[in-house]
Symmetry: C2
Amino acid sequence: MSHTDPQVTEADRDDEIEDEIELDEPRLRAIREALEARDPTALDDLIEPLHGADIADMLEQIGEGERATLIELWSGHIDGEILSELDEGLREEILNALPAEDVAEAVRELDTDDVVDLIENLDDSDQADAILGALDDVDRVAVERALAFPEYSAGRLMQREVVVAPSFWTVGQTVDHLRQADELPQQFYHVILVDPRMRPVGHVTLGKILAAPRDTPLAEIEEESFRTFEATEPEREVAYAFNQYHLISAAVVDADDRLLGVITIDDAIRILDEEAEEDILRLAGVDAEESLSDRTLDVVRRRFPWLAVNLLTAIIASLVIAQFDQVIAEIVALAVLMPIVASMGGNAGTQSLTVAVRALATRDLTGANVWRVIRREVVAGAINGGAFAAIMGIVGLVWFGTPMLGVVIAVAMVINLIVAALAGVGVPIVLDKINVDPALASGTFVTTVTDVVGFFAFLGLAAIWLI
Amino acid sequence: MSHTDPQVTEADRDDEIEDEIELDEPRLRAIREALEARDPTALDDLIEPLHGADIADMLEQIGEGERATLIELWSGHIDGEILSELDEGLREEILNALPAEDVAEAVRELDTDDVVDLIENLDDSDQADAILGALDDVDRVAVERALAFPEYSAGRLMQREVVVAPSFWTVGQTVDHLRQADELPQQFYHVILVDPRMRPVGHVTLGKILAAPRDTPLAEIEEESFRTFEATEPEREVAYAFNQYHLISAAVVDADDRLLGVITIDDAIRILDEEAEEDILRLAGVDAEESLSDRTLDVVRRRFPWLAVNLLTAIIASLVIAQFDQVIAEIVALAVLMPIVASMGGNAGTQSLTVAVRALATRDLTGANVWRVIRREVVAGAINGGAFAAIMGIVGLVWFGTPMLGVVIAVAMVINLIVAALAGVGVPIVLDKINVDPALASGTFVTTVTDVVGFFAFLGLAAIWLI
């Protein structure tokens, strides 16, 4: 971020320049020192220039005790913006710590979609009621209507505040209307054209309205492409469409195609972000809800189930090894080398798996190319398997001086890397077909397959060829 | 996506309704059948209604031979939009297949930032020259100037097309000026206020301009918060700021703070997307450049290095096992159980690692909470380690009937899960400090640590307590 040279600044620009200040490590350290010293003046000076998003990040990074001190000492308010930027896990703690009138004031500043986001994640229904109670009647009804839509639907995501014009209006009529409007949404990018029954029929960008002569009919400058979403559509579909078609805002309609609200790009980005994050965490066996401000016992509880699944699969792999205990007792070198075959299979499988899971998420892997991708992965697995078979064959031979041991590990390696490729692509595709999130469950399946096949191929071939 | 009921549509809305059609599996199948049957009419009917982004996806999903047939038969043009939506790997193939005049026409439609994106990823410099040659002088100079900025910088990301107004203008002057402008950017969201030396001093949203009376000074309705980026700033910083501060467009300036261009939200989303994708792929040991349209040999080449690293680390773990070959020869049960300890450590380590890598990427893990997070992970590792130690102790005892074997596996489990937590958080933090992407290299380090510690603790304790 560039900081403007103070010499070229005019006096009235102080506000903007301060807004450019970001939360960096020295400032964070200074804030913690001010909290430690219980110095409200220093605290105000340090926090006031920060953007709400940065204040929220700061609250997440300091400790629980420091947060309490901050709320007590800071003369500023935790406003609506800060609340909606906060990690869900922390919101309840902060809401509990704030005086009721502060919460009410904070909530009244927010657009309805942000209030919905705030309420839907609260476990504590008293807090939800308090927030609803703080709203004026119109907003409360809007929020309650939004909450009546299913979770993760377009209806929850949209804001009610819309800017519409009859489709037969001219630019001049629209501009006059906007100038007379009591209140306009904080951010809007299009005027939505509606028919007499409030059904959206198109939209016009603000840029086009500004550039066109007053007598231009809106219909003449409307965008070529216009998409609406039904309120019950899943938010992930909405986010996908925003990303795919570069939308900036889109109208939301009910089953009769009547305008209900509008979804803007910032909501879509949040969902896209959450989806990518979910994939990353789930692929690693971490609960998608986990956050850095979770307490230790929450972390224990969230991580345990996946580790338990892994324990079961590890035991299955061990049962395979146990079948060959006589072989291992005779040739201990097998115990030394067997993890290599399993580990290479696991890694190759994870590579194929991750590519497949992401391609499914971005809808790049479809019926049209599924066989081509599977063939590609399997051939690539066979070629890399061959290369590593040659390397490990030589290592095995040199290390233990038994040529046949080199052959065994080489053949097992090729088999396992081919199986890894097959499982890596096949498992997520099958899970996706049966509507299980491939990111969630594929990892366990694939590494179980590569462990079992790796141990079985290596020890089985050893039993046949070496004994 | 809701499809408007045909009965309520007016004739002049045909275009928009067709635009709502998406690329789904039946349509993709029909396109492939039309290609197979070499039926240009069917092909046109199927492709024309699609959005450019969907046409690009379709081109990525069909085979190479089908693409050639499509370019030959389809009467429509691969336009600039389709080209910029295409996977980088496919662009050169398509550019080579297209007649020169089609390429020229396609490129002239694009904003300068999209031309830059197109050219910077071409390996073939003849193609780049051909594209530059197709541009008119003004655009060519703009593109060449952008290419002079470092790769992955704000300068490469920005478009030159900006809408500015002197900061002392009124709304009326601005609107008149916009109405007289020859050409405005396809999309713009703010009018940037500049001083007489073209230094941006603020910006006004189009919504505010539309809503304000003509005699309102722009300075009165400018946004409170205003951020500019220097052209040399890394694009990831820009993308982070767009996401963190919910920006929709931002001015880019040179070292003297003069306006050079503007970056819009669609560019920022693309970078955010790429960054998340990079993290996901790198965590799994997949080259971040890999794409689903890569050929088999590219896949082999891209995956090999990571598998080679993994082979080395697997051999290191095997060397640890080799130290205890006498112990294993005496008690074969150790060979059966040892992968369980290593596997649990690897999984727990990967969980901690993934959380840490993402927290670093989103800047949630900083000096302020690093010790708190490390402590949390280690304590959680110890608690889950204790739980699984109890389970595995019992399993070991029941399975092999040796109480001391149960104790050995239990203690090894606790040790390895604590180490896994430490390595999982510690390794990415250290890599980040020394400016290595933690997503790229952490995985290998962490699983090597958990393999080595797992085998060493389990076999070492067995050597002491069981023999």
